[in-house]
Symmetry: C2
Subunit: 166 residues, 2 copies
DNA sequence: GGTCGTAGCGCAACGCGTTGCAATAGCCAC
DNA sequence: GTGGCTATTGCAACGCGTTGCGCTACGACC
């Protein structure tokens, strides 16, 4: 059950002579995670480091199950419950955002730039992102109705795409 | 494992002298189920009868788990997988319609009169039905966008109600 | 570098829903 | 009423996600 990681620091220290964190790489929202966690009394653990390494290599949508599988490749001792709990933490920091696919399974938006919902066709099984303008229409309609503030990202709407209607 | 039911016929025969099926009771969409099933080569089984008896006593929304529990009260040998499969069958006949609550659990609309979606407030946990006119706006917005035909009933949209916004 | 309070870990068990399979039992036709 | 085709059942196992608990180890402070 030992984790033979070299250090508990934020970077993996490939070049110990690299003085500037930003040197040679684009500044990434992931760079500050360790400090942001510690600043709130939370901790930077090997398990969390693994998940963040995995998230770094993803853009857009990933399944929770995929993330767990990928973590397991980097660290075979990975436990699902730990991954789920860490995803919760990262969601509170705004670094990921989860939604539910048509079958209810969790799907993560990594570093979401613009919030969007999904459409799922029960005919062909395809999925689309709802365009921002269309999303805004939905949000507005429900705001006007009950003053309800919709969280589009959490939901995927089912139905039939144009091609699948008779 | 014996089911000591008196008969395999549609009615439970409380008064063997009741000649007219409609006598003394309102005609119910449930009355024809046995025949509708048989007409499609499907079967009318004790397990299905139990579930229909349970559904008869419900109007509006029920959880799959609730239905299973109630079936178990009538017949302690009830098995979840059978209930789920029968619910599928009844959904194909249009007698129930399932959706997903905010946590993903299944919720059944029994004899849905008008199709509607749900709102769920992540603040207070309350749930509302989306009013038909507002639902229509959503349906229209997505029809106009990609020609997508929305199935509102299947989804509940998350967000914050008026009272829960700061 | 050493102490210590507590956040986080792994584990085991649970809840909901689905699926494959062998045995059962509707129901239709005779 | 009997026979036979096959839809349906129960079971066992699985997949996804959550939760409670006792032990570990992060990291703030000295
Ligand atoms: Mn569904
Ligand atoms: Mn959710
Ligand atoms: Zn389609
Ligand atoms: Zn609320």
């Amino acid at each position: 059950m030992r984790h033979n990681r070299a250090s508990n620091e934020d970077r993996t220290l490939p070049q110990p002579d690299s003085p500037n964190p930003a040197r040679g790489s684009v500044a990434s929202p992931w760079d500050g995670v360790a400090d942001r966690l510690r600043a709130s009394g939370l901790r930077w653990t090997p398990q969390r480091r693994t998940l963040v390494e995995v998230l770094r290599e993803h853009e857009g949508h990933v399944t929770a199950t995929d993330l767990i599988a990928r973590c397991r490749e980097l660290d075979r001792t990975t436990t699902p419950s730990t991954v789920y709990r860490t995803l919760d933490v990262l969601e509170n920091l705004g670094l990921v955002r989860h939604g539910h696919a048509a079958d209810g399974r969790e799907e993560y938006h990594v570093l979401p730039e613009h919030v969007h919902g999904h459409l799922h066709c029960v005919g062909c099984g395809a999925t689309w992102e709802i365009r921002p303008e269309t999303g805004a229409l939905i949000v507005d309609a429900l705001a006007a109705d009950l003053g309800f503030s919709v969280d589009l990202t959490h939901v995927t709407i089912a139905g039939r795409c144009q091609g699948c209607q008779e």
